[in-house]
């Protein structure tokens, strides 16, 4: 085995669960995500010499995966963007009826977001990248990432039809704190 690249290859394999979580969150389809991870892994393995030592291996892998994903989307032209808000309107009813938001509702809402916003939110909000790192992975400006994250958060809140934090789960204490905080600020 090439002793120089061995630690790197081991690190790469160790990052697969994390990479897979990104893929599933990004495309919302486990089978497709696993194919993406496989393709990313093969590409990374074959081009490991192009990885710059000292830079972020995880960011490099995420970049390969998202580029593969978006290229595939363009090629297949099957990515559905909910520009008219139809899906969002349908979805808004569901959590309200149950009065409680579960993980399934959340994942469905995440999948309705435009892909670029979903990607930015996952990178920053779930994968723990800084805005700067997320911008480098996505190949755009830091301001663009910030804007996408904000829009994604607003849309999620809007889509899930949430009026109070209680509907996000068993968190009645939060509202009590909010009520007290607001009350204490009133003149």
């Amino acid at each position: 085995m090439n002793t120089e690249s061995e630690p790197l290859r081991q690190a790469l394999l160790g990052l697969i669960p994390n990479l897979r979580a990104f893929a599933v969150s990004l495309c919302g389809d486990v089978e497709r995500a696993d194919d993406l991870v496989q393709e990313t892994l093969l590409k990374a393995w074959d081009h490991l010499e192009s990885f710059e030592e000292g830079t972020n291996l995880r960011a490099w892998l995420f970049t390969i995966l998202r580029n593969t994903y978006f290229s595939e989307c363009r090629r297949r032209r099957r990515e559905v963007e909910d520009r008219d808000g139809t899906k969002a309107a349908d979805l808004a009813v569901h959590p309200g009826q149950q009065g409680h938001l579960d993980m399934q509702d959340f994942r469905r809402a995440l999948n309705v977001l435009p892909p670029d916003q979903r990607e930015a939110l996952i990178l920053v909000g779930a994968a723990g990248f800084s805005y700067e790192q997320a911008a480098a992975v996505s190949g755009c400006a830091v301001g663009t990432i910030k804007s996408r994250v904000n829009r994604a958060r607003s849309k999620l809140t809007e889509m899930l039809g949430v009026a109070t934090p209680r509907e996000f789960g068993p968190d009645a204490a939060t509202e009590a704190i909010v009520a007290r905080t607001v009350g204490s600020r009133q003149p």
């Binding site: 697969i16 990104f22 789960g169 607001v182």
Partner: protein, 109 residues
């Protein structure tokens, strides 16, 4: 008159509501263009500053902003939980096989 569930309607519906003109006579038609507090004379001769901005919308905005921050935090939590759940899942067979194959391929070089 009864409510949807057959109960008596709220008492507020039985009282006559103020007409628009009456409301307008009580409340300022619009808030001042500039936000400087106006100084008013009270009956006891004491002077105090009164914020002429309408209080209710401001309270609603403050409450909305705090709720919004709370919701954003909750969204973040669920997002991270969801991500970690996937990360903890066992890898599918074909990925494990691929990893093994890559290791073998590398060791054969």
């Amino acid at each position: 008159m009864t409510g949807k569930d057959g109960s008596a309607p709220p008492a507020v519906l039985e009282t006559r509501t103020a007409t628009r003109d009456e409301k307008d006579a009580k409340a300022p038609r619009s808030r001042p263009l500039r936000g400087k507090p106006q100084t008013v004379n009270e009956d006891d001769g004491d002077k105090r500053k009164v914020d002429t901005y309408q209080q209710t919308p401001r309270r609603a905005n403050a409450r909305g902003a705090i709720l919004d921050r709370s919701l954003q935090a909750r969204i973040g939590e669920i997002l991270r939980e969801s991500f970690k759940d996937i990360e903890r899942e066992p890898l599918p067979e074909h990925l494990v096989e691929l990893m093994e194959a890559l290791k073998t391929k590398e060791s054969g070089r």
